[in-house]
Amino acid sequence: MTGAGGGGGPGGSSKAASAEIAGGLLERPLPAGYCEDWARHFAGLESEGAAEDEGADRAALLFRIGDEWLALPTDHLHEVAQPRRTHSLPHRRDELVLGIVNVRGELLVCVSLAALLGISAAGTAEAGERSRAGPRLVVIGRDGRRAAFPVDEVHGVHRYAARDVLALPATIGKAASSYAVEMIAWSGRAIGRLDDALILETLDRSMS
């Protein structure tokens, strides 16, 4: 009765009847083993899918700082946030620590990955002007020790397979000098994949 909301036409009563049938159909108890079947289905999906994709089982966040595109494994990635106002710290003259920043009500140390990797600021300004995709704040960390760093553009998470990995060339981009461990082929270019554990360790050490 109540189900036939827009009723009032000549077929009102039959509509109500079909609504009742539909309701009965949708609300019927689940057959035995139904949930388990689907749980198995979705659980299996990942490994099966990976097999089909021939091992596209690695994921990295692709982002740009200045002119350099870089990739960072997602293991220690917490979130990508809108850029927020950073408060500088007095008496700090190093370029690494930019200050503190509020991300979802938590005060995080904001660092310059550009400074850590040695990417020039001039390139950053230039590229920032060229691109409208918008800067972002990337939050990484482990064991409660977190840090945020600004980037000029984020492409998103890129899944790739072992075969997409290229060896490090003898001469690599200046940025990737000591923190890149391998190159990933992505839409016609090779991107340095950063060693996230090494970066986190370096940050922990050089903050104080």
Partner: protein
Amino acid sequence: MSGEDLSQFSMLDLFRAELDAQSQALTAGLLALERDPVAPDHLESCMRAAHSLKGAARIIDLDPAVRVAHAMEECLVAAQHGRLRLTHDHIDTLLKGVDLLAVAASEPPAGGAGAEPQIVQFLQALERASNGGAAADAAPAGEPRDPGPPAPLVPPALEPPPQGAAGSDRMVRITAQAMNRLLGLAGESLMEARRLRPFADRLVRQKRRHHDLAKAVDGLRAALGPIDPDDRTARALAEVQDKLAQSEDFLVERLAELDSIDQRATDLANRLYTETLSSRMRPFEDGVRHFSRAVRDLARSLGKEARLEIVGGGAGIDRDILDQLDAPLGHLLRNAVDHGLETPDERVAAGKPREGVIRLEARHHAGLLQVIVADDGQGVDVERLRHAVLANGLVTQETVGDLGEAELLEFLFLPGFSMKTMVSDVSGRGVGLDAVQSMVKQVRGLTTVSSTAGEGTQFQLQLPLTLSVIRTLLVEIADEPYALPLTGITRTLKLPRADIEVLEGRPHFRFGERQVGLITAHEILGRGDARSDAAELSVVVLGEGETAYGLIVDRFLGERELVVRPLDPRLAKVKDISAAALIEDGSPVLIIDVDDLLRSAEKIASSGRLRTLQRASATADRARRKRVLVVDDSLTVRELERKILDHHGYEVEVAVDGMDGWNVVRSEPFDLVVTDIDMPRMDGIELVTLIKRDARLRGVPVMIVSYKDREEDRRRGLDAGADYYLTKGSFHDDTLIHAVVDLVGPASG
């Protein structure tokens, strides 16, 4: 079977919850009765508590508890009717009865029938107390004459709702991190909700434009002049006007809707935020109430009379700090009863009331939480302390005479130090005060002690409000917001440029009776240059008397209440900054460490700047001199050491405590650090440990100079990594300078 057991459990749990609440009331009432045995309101409340407990125990068939509660009630009823006068023994026994009820309600091994022997003892003790008492009592205990047999069943049955309230006062444990996140999210949601208002305001502007548009169309209609209403143009125009009116109505309705959504959302977010904030705080009394009983019991066992007076019990205190305070406060109170208070006879002889009063007070003062434990006892005998210091071999015969009272009292905090000749099981073993101090130090607080002969001893704990909320003045410095705790501010003012005078090359202004030095916040914090175009300067006067400074900031932004958030520990201590916080637009703000700032100002103003200039020229024309950092909180010692070293050609920088020293030693290169041990904020041992743990500083030799010349002090210093340990007595000869030369060689070369 199991179902029955479970229900039994929950009933017992209910009883325990009730017992918890009622025994608090009972204990408080009994302690009051001890002072005034005939106070009708306390008699009434105690009797009622015992009566409720009896009823509740009967409902769950907890017979031992029924008997104990019944006997207590009987005794109290007798006292109420004047058939009995409550003595100390009565109170003792009744308090034990409260404990016994808890035992009876505990799990079988100790509780239930297991408590039987204790119950028999208790009943006998109560009877003895009554028979020994002045008034005769016909029927002390037992079932025969129950004054209100029908009553018990009713009140307990009605009891649960009010007891439910006690249940909702129940504390839950939550990690500090979860609490901080909750607070962060509440703050963020408040900030988001506040964005609705400006958005609605912008929409109002749109409504106005809309109105203008409608008027323009009206104008168009008028400009067209008289036309036939059936004309196509006229019809099209009428339709436009119609649609415009409809759309305007719609916009007005939506705006009204948005207004009420905004109000509700902001209100809700506000409440959420304040509620989350206040849930961090607990009244001081909550954490210390249980000491009333402990103090009284302890005094009785020592043959003394003592009462605990809690002042400022309502002061909100961060729950973490309150938890940490429990052990040190317990110790200070035990000390006050044992060492501080005299026996009742001694007190009477001294013209004081028999009963000693120990005051436990909490208050917020100067941005710190101040907790005071004061007794009205005999005070510390300074001469005896002097002897004890000498007897313990802490100083030499010559130096002991020079020590002032404050310096002598400091020895009370030394590990293993005791004045008591006889060791009691309560205190006097010499352990404890040092533990109190180390706990307070852990949270970067300060312990001080003062004493007046014949009037009492007072311990003062100053604890930082690291996790609490503070009121601050928000200022702008180099385009960024900073917060100054209100408690550290003497005055704020707008200073016309014309009022600035220059004395000895530094800007000053007249503030009340004196000249106060001016310094820009930019200079202290290393944030570029101050804006120099304004005709008036925004000045915050910090500190008092000699150490007052006028801090020039760019702008006052107003007063704010901020939730103090610690900075990321990986940043270590940031000089001049104590913590961080978020302001309402979500921007981070740094909270200024006023003590640090004053010290920095002092350095820049007095010698720092001039000396840097001198240094620049000095290093230009001759070989570099060895640089020594002297860390000591005593001005005299600091200056003495500076003079000696300076005289021998060393370049000397000074720092006024460990924290200051740690800041300085990291910012400039030094060849040697000379430090004291006992200093506020950070002691010498911690400083040495930090230096020796730092990869860059590890190589810098550190020399400790201290009053403490015992072998264990020396070992403690050397264990921390100090390269040399010198006692302060050795100033007068060349020991200091020999040791320095040994460690780093002569001043230049």
